[in-house]
């Protein structure tokens, strides 16, 4: 190989320098997300003041960071993590919002002993652990159905999960008694999931008059799931197979990867995590409501693409999605603090999705150009 090509293709992050190494760990793509985070925080806390908007000063309080922000991102964050796996594999799961609704209804109805599943009498009433597991299992089964439709019936993933988005949404109502929400207000052990705090009573010197309020249980769950997903994607054969399938499914199959098996497992994973998100939604809203999960899929997919996953598959990281979830969270939280109404927030979210994909496409086109240039030279 000529000297010039060696130079051209050496990854700068691999050479010397502590800063460069740190950048290498975060990933150069994710670095831009951190910049975006800083800019959004600056906009919310400082720039907003210049335009006479008030409320930005509340951003840096423990109350806001730990109660509002850290909790608000959990549900979308969880669903986005499952969605990241699916998108890296070059597919899509649009049904996650409806799966969350199912998880929410199932957990609540098992806990209270109502609805189709609750009144079967197979599962013990009032057992929080069983209720949580039932919600997750319901989501996993829904995911397996997606996997079956995509692999055995060979339906395009977008169409398949668009179909199940509608079907599962209806199914969530069927599972609820008379289609009505199941209240779980009287189950403190269950609502603790959403309202509980770890390290609540530890004395931490107050910062700028803000008061330490502990770490929400919800946030801990998100972080644990994110780390587990990161390990799954980076260190296991399953994760490798996902990246390989997303990068080139035909080549992956010819290299001995069992496409159907990996795809079914992937949809089960995405469904299971969405089911868990639904359980937590039931705990937070104190009701297993069949509309609990509505619209989550859009926010989750937005976060995944914003986090640097490629629309064509094969690229993306859990860390990127995690950062993007925080970014979207700060944006929403900031707009709340500054008094923008939710309609404006929805407009912003829609355009953010388009912007995220546009940036991702631009990146891909650039990488593709570089590859063709070199491949032609061979």
């Amino acid at each position: 190989m000529s000297e010039s090509q060696t130079k051209q293709t050496t990854n700068p992050a691999r050479r010397g320098g502590i800063i460069k190494r740190v950048v290498g760990v975060i990933g150069t793509d994710n670095l831009s997300l951190i910049f975006a985070l800083v800019i959004v925080v600056f906009l919310v806390t400082t720039v907003s003041g210049w335009f006479g908007l008030s409320g930005g000063d509340k951003f840096f309080s423990w109350q806001n960071l730990m109660n509002s922000l850290a909790q608000a991102i959990v549900i979308v964050g969880l669903v986005a993590i499952g969605e990241t796996v699916v998108i890296i594999a070059g597919a899509l799961d649009i049904s996650v919002g409806s799966i969350a609704s199912i998880g929410s209804v199932v957990a609540a109805s098992v806990l209270v002993g109502v609805g189709i599943i609750g009144s079967l009498g197979i599962l013990p009433v009032g057992n929080v652990v069983i209720a949580i597991l039932a919600g997750i299992l319901a989501g996993t089964i829904a995911g397996a159905i997606n996997g079956f439709i995509v692999t055995v019936l060979r339906v395009n993933p977008i169409i398949a999960t668009l179909g199940t988005l509608a079907a599962f949404a209806g199914f969530a109502f069927l599972l609820a008694p008379d289609g009505k929400p199941v209240g779980v207000m009287t189950q403190p052990a269950f609502t603790w999931l959403a309202q509980g705090r770890f390290l609540e009573n530890i004395a931490i010197p107050s910062l700028g008059g803000a008061k330490w309020t502990g770490i929400p249980v919800l946030t801990v769950i998100l972080v644990v799931v994110a780390i587990a997903a990161h390990i799954l994607m980076s260190y296991t054969d399953f994760g490798r197979s996902i990246y390989a399938i997303g990068g080139n499914a035909t080549a992956a199959r010819l290299a001995g990867i069992n496409l159907s098996k990996v795809r079914v497992l992937m949809y089960m994973l995405s469904g299971g995590i969405a089911g868990l998100a639904g359980v937590l939604l039931a705990a937070r809203t104190t009701s297993g409501n069949p509309i609990n999960g509505n619209g989550i899929e859009l926010q989750a997919i937005t976060a995944v693409f914003l986090g640097g996953a490629a629309t064509s598959g094969g690229k993306g990281t859990i860390a990127g999605t995690f950062l993007a979830v925080i970014l979207v969270g700060i944006l929403n939280n900031g707009m709340n603090l500054l008094g923008f109404n939710t309609f404006i927030q929805r407009v912003a979210l829609g355009f953010l999705l388009i912007a995220a994909v546009a940036i991702s496409q631009w990146r891909q086109a650039r990488a593709e150009n570089a590859r063709t240039r070199i491949a032609n030279a061979g």
């Binding site: 054969d237 080549a251 001995g256």
Partner: protein
């Protein structure tokens, strides 16, 4: 005018109008000097052949003529006006048309529209069907192709020959002055070849300058007026065809005796590793063959003869409908590629980019892909072990990459192919199927791959070598099977095999009834 190219011609003699003057063209790619200082005249009313081994620089020169590549040095000019690079548009405007082996045809659109694409006749802003059909019918009749190229066929229903005709008709309608044909006969029947030759001669008579690129020396001697011989990017000689014969062209092309190019030195064969009996599939009818340990078995045939599909059926990537696959004496059932791999079969597909590699992932991940499961403990990849295995084979194959983390898609073609081979060496198969292992890679990497094939066979691997390059098949194979229309039409021992013998078996009764048409199998083959 001098016939032998010299880098500094004395005072340039006057040239005929319409001559394409190539002067001092050089072009380097990261791994190879593709062309060095090539000067040549393409004259109107003459058929000039480009010959040379793969990688000699023929394709690069065509791409420069077509405006696809910008040369590092040198100029092209026509009628005394220099052509600018890189711009296919400028080349087209000047009447230069290069017909590549695989012309770009719009699949869902009929022949007439494919020919007139870009300049469709309009009436009230809508396509004027009647005028279009009249125009196309007229020109097809004029050139005698009305039978060979039915106008109503859609792009994806066309055979290779018909696709070429569409591309040629495109060129003709826009007033071609320099027409280059890249391996035009590689997938044509004898009859189609004759018709093509008649057309080429007619165009010569009309004053078109024709460049004819081919591996088939006999055809060249039959058709061409002059022959330009390229080797390793240099123009070795330009001579009138009447002064040349087969042996002389080969000697000039290779620059050495043909036998020394490939160095297959069989070390003796062992037990039978693969036997296929009465294999049936959508593409095949009663295929029987066997491969012993330590043998390189060549599979020759035309494109669409079913060789790639045969490899995929054995590998479990395409369905088998009957017959038996026997590995080391044991009948096996294989439904999926992972089952084939577990049984000791490796398969390096023909199309690296589409089927061989995951371009956006690293050299490391691509190299370990087939044995990933063996490298895990409780599903966790043992990264140290993985790196060790990958390093061993990446080094053995001398893959030139800055690191194991490099994206495979950013390597050159030859190095990409070596990564695919590294993957299969790591899997330690008993049978290795190589489908066009040297397609599109540079000469240096090619020779390395030839040596590797030789070495692997001598280590006891059974190798099924599918190649469309006859010299490659002849140079490397211990035995050769020739396929045609999904059947094996003959078996030749290394000693009795010649190009003529192979082509005879590949072409006989090509037009007679067969289980599947060649176009159909080609298309099915592309969707695995």
């Amino acid at each position: 005018m001098t016939d032998v190219a010299s880098s500094h011609p004395p005072t340039p003699p006057p040239v005929k109008p319409g001559t394409l003057e190539i002067r001092g063209i050089s072009k380097a790619f990261p791994n190879v000097q593709a062309l060095s200082d090539v000067s040549l005249d393409i004259r109107p009313g003459e058929i000039l052949a480009f010959v040379g081994e793969n990688g000699a620089g023929k394709s690069t020169l065509l791409k420069i003529i077509n405006g696809d590549y910008k040369p590092d040095a040198g100029t092209l000019s026509m009628d005394g006006r220099p052509l600018t690079f890189p711009s296919p548009y400028v080349a087209h405007q000047s009447g230069i048309r290069v017909i590549y082996q695989e012309p770009e045809i719009i699949p869902g659109v009929d022949v007439a529209e494919n020919i007139w694409v870009g300049e469709l006749p309009k009436r009230f802003g809508l396509l004027d069907r009647r005028q279009l059909n009249q125009q196309v019918e007229r020109s097809l009749k004029e050139y005698g192709f009305e039978g060979a190229l039915p106008m109503h066929l859609l792009g994806d229903e066309l055979s290779s020959a018909q696709r070429q005709l569409v591309e040629i008709m495109r060129a003709l309608k826009s007033g071609v002055r320099v027409l280059a044909l890249d391996e035009p006969t590689s997938s044509l029947t004898d009859e189609e070849v004759d018709r093509l030759f008649a057309l080429v001669r007619r165009l010569r008579g009309e004053g078109v300058a024709i460049i004819y690129v081919s591996h088939r020396i006999k055809e060249i001697l039959r058709l061409c007026d002059r022959v330009a011989i390229l080797r390793d990017g240099n123009l070795i000689a330009v001579k009138p065809a009447s002064e040349l014969n087969d042996a002389e062209i080969v000697r000039l092309m290779v620059g050495r005796e043909l036998s020394s190019v490939f160095q297959r030195r069989p070390a003796g064969t062992g037990h039978e590793v693969l036997r296929v009996e009465g294999l049936q599939s959508n593409w095949h009818d009663d295929v029987n063959f066997h491969i012993n340990a330590g043998e390189v078995i060549g599979f020759a045939g035309l494109v669409g003869a079913g060789r790639t599909e045969l490899a995929k059926v054995i590998f479990g990537a395409l369905p088998k409908t009957g017959g038996q696959v026997i590995l080391s004496g044991q009948v096996v059932t294989i439904h999926r590629p992972d089952e084939a791999i577990a049984r000791g079969i490796g398969f390096a597909p023909e199309d690296r980019k589409r089927e061989g590699l995951v371009p956006v992932r690293s050299v490391l991940e691509n190299a370990s892909m087939a044995i990933l499961r063996q490298l895990t403990r409780f599903h966790f990849v043992r990264k140290g072990l993985e790196r060790m295995v990958a390093t061993r084979f990446v080094e053995r194959l001398r893959v030139r990459t800055p690191s194991l983390e490099q994206e495979v898609g950013k390597l050159s073609g030859g190095n990409q192919q070596k990564v695919v081979l590294a993957r299969w060496l790591a899997a330690k198969p008993k049978v290795l199927i190589l489908d066009e292992p040297t397609r599109g890679i540079d000469v240096g990497a090619k020779v390395e791959i030839y040596h590797l094939i030789d070495e692997l066979a001598n280590e006891g691997l059974g190798i099924m070598l599918i190649s469309s390059e006859l010299p490659e098949i002849l140079g490397l194979s211990d035995r050769i099977y020739v396929m045609q229309n999904g059947r094996i039409t003959g078996e030749l021992s290394g000693a009795e095999a010649t190009e003529e013998a192979i082509l005879g078996l590949a072409f006989t009764d090509h037009l007679s009834a067969a289980p599947v048409g060649s176009t159909a199998s080609q298309q099915k083959g592309s969707t695995i």
